[in-house]
Amino acid sequence: MNHSTEKITNLKTELYSFHTSNGGKMVPFAGYDMPVQYSEGIIKEHQHVRSAAGIFDVSHMGQFSIYGNEKDYLALEQIVPIDLKSLKVNQSKYSVLMNDKGGIDDDLIITKSEEGINIVLNAACKHRDVTRIHEVINPSKTKLHDNLSLIAIQGPKAVNILEVLVKGVRDLKFMTGGKFKYKDNDVYVNRSGYTGEDGFEVSLENSVVKDFCKTLLENKEVKLIGLGARDSLRLEAGLCLYGHDLNSDISPIEASLSWALSKIKKEEGNFLGSKVVKDQIANGVKKKRVGIKPDRIIAREGSKIFKNDKEIGVITSGGFGPSINGPVAMGYVLKEFANEGETLDLEVRGKKHQGKIFKMPFYKKSYVK
């Protein structure tokens, strides 16, 4: 075998040509060619989601199912520390896939369905995740769906816009889902998202996705949104990006994601890495994920954090927040400095610039009508 002659081709979602014909600027992301932005640019796209509604193609993410009843899927609790028994049908939870060091191998959304369990996995992690899940779940009971696309519709106007095409979705509560019809096609809709806005994620057959997006775009309040704005929206909302703010060496307690673990699992343990997690809950952690608001300068991933010339941490996500109209960041600092309002120095291009620890989210909906 001669690897050097192998051409590395990125995968494409069903909507690839739809993106390019709508002005999408394609970039490699997690093994896929994905739109980073469309012709209007990241800031306009970001603001459009905050004020109206945007469509995101998130079909690169893994849609995975475990079919069966409790005896078929309950072993998942060994690696995803949530209480699956108490999860109601069509209810979703954000959680994490644990490893034996107490670190996070992926963050995910898990939903109980009438047929079993559905999980949405990060694109870059999905194949490793499936291998990990197969260590505890019979592979013959599972499926990674390559016939399905996933479309997020996010923004304050998303509910009214989607309701026109998919009757009944307006009655969904946050983090619940259900089976609906788009035209004559079966779709699964979940009221959730990753932007800090109200919104939905729609799982549907690849053969329908283009028509669905085209029909949504007929409404002038809807725009296509790329990965660039997806990143600034989630950062303003204080949400983690796997591979940046989370990784296999960071525990959910360090990541300030204790809420993503069920109370009973935190008490009982008996999941992978639970010894580390329980010890950290009892005795504290060395470092903690916090929100950081730089005074003026944009501090990006990798910027070192100092307090009185002592290095105390590092930025894991940082950029410009269009709705804040200023820089926003998150990162890890030593626990003793992880206090709201603590002033810090952020090293950018060899110089130190002030910032302070800020309680996330940076952007909160005011719900003023």
Partner: protein, 125 residues
């Protein structure tokens, strides 16, 4: 005022006597996208040709702005520091970065004219 000249790093230079105005090209701003931060050099700072003189950041990334000619900064454009989107709106006019008193006016001849620069961009360099 002399004809505008262009560098391979996508800066433009316009010479007026022995003072050159420096900015980034329209092509550069199109590549960068929405510009959200600009840092300009202080008056009196000296640079070699090709020296890192300023910083421009889009939503996506930070980039250095190099001085295509050697000299000493006489003025910086504080307007783009206050409103970085000026660089997107008018990159080769009001969105200029700094003015520099050039140590050798002949250095500008090392740069490309508009036709050559456009060709350089077209060829994807």
């Amino acid at each position: 005022m002399s004809e505008k000249k262009y560098s391979e790093k996508h800066e433009w230079v316009e010479l007026n006597g022995d003072v050159a105005t420096v900015g980034i090209t329209k092509h550069a701003t199109e590549q960068l996208g929405d510009i959200v931060f600009a840092e300009v050099p202080e008056k009196g700072k000296s640079f070699e040709a090709g020296g890192e003189a300023a910083v421009v950041e889009s939503v996506k990334a930070a980039s250095d702005v190099y001085s295509p000619v050697a000299g000493e900064v006489t003025e910086s454009n504080d307007a783009i520091v206050g409103d970085p989107s000026l660089v997107n709106q008018d990159p080769e006019g009001n969105g200029w970065f700094f003015k520099i008193k050039v140590s050798d006016v002949n250095q500008i001849n090392n740069l490309m004219n508009k036709t050559d620069y456009d060709k350089f961009v077209m060829e994807g360099a």
